[in-house]
Homo-oligomer: 132 residues x 2
DNA sequence: GTGATTGCAAATCTTTTGCACTAAA
DNA sequence: TTTAGTGCAAAAGATTTGCAATCAC
């Protein structure tokens, strides 16, 4: 996305477009899908000489997630990945390299999913294929 | 499993059956499938008046996992669950209560799984159905 | 005995929080 | 203005580590 569009993009998501949030959005929503940790986003901001504190990175990532702009992916106990692809899809995780790759939802077919317990709705289904 | 069988059980898995490991195995492998965190195992040991340090709990859980007696399940970024069910199966995670429930592998049908990248083998497939 | 295991406390790492300061509307 | 957002440093949790003491074989 063009940097100039970011403030409007954030505003449309109900997020006040501050300088820091626009800088982080520019890193995350440049068009290429990404899976980044908070630390990686922070490092990327530093590389671009965007002054944003780590606490603000965490705040922003959670706000973006809550607004549906990002999605958390839990692969590794050590850290949370934030995925810019919020469509239903799944993941390959390469244990050797630590790389995460998207699998389009259509590539996986879930048949005979059991019914959730009474009163509960399925929020999301995650499929993680671990490779070694 | 009967407590008296635990030493042999551990030994069969290539693990030296120390007092602490037998005490932890008694908590974990009592027959009922469980999903426990290190802290929960530690608390259970304390309740039974088995003196085991938290560091030893972590050591033992990882050794049991490496030996194939347990399986790690990542659901929540805050902690790792150790599952006594090492057969292929999946999980319901109730976000409201934090409860984790097993789904037998047969209840989920994965069709059209994409081929892993060249040279890589599928180590394991995790399906997590998050309920709200 | 001898090497593996344990306990403890300190260290590490990720993430959160409290609060004074600053910026957006 | 007035409220939301930010930065910093400290706190919180989970997990790991270093090392001397202890245990299994």
């Amino acid at each position: 996305m063009h940097p100039a569009q970011l403030p409007a993009f954030l505003q449309a998501a109900g997020i006040r477009p501050t300088r820091q949030r626009a800088a982080l959005a520019a890193i995350l929503f440049d068009g290429a899908p990404k899976h980044m940790t908070a630390e990686q986003v922070h490092a990327a901001a530093r590389t671009r000489r965007s002054k944003v504190s780590l606490a603000t990175v965490y705040n922003a990532l959670h706000q973006f997630t809550e607004a549906g702009l990002l999605r958390e992916v839990l692969i590794d106990s050590a850290r949370v990945y934030f995925d810019t692809n919020t469509d239903a899809h799944h993941h390959f995780f390469d244990e050797a390299s630590g790389d995460l790759h998207d699998i389009p939802a259509a590539a996986v077919k879930l048949a005979r999913l059991p019914k959730p317990l009474k009163g509960r709705k399925v929020a999301r289904v995650d499929v993680i294929i671990r490779l070694c």
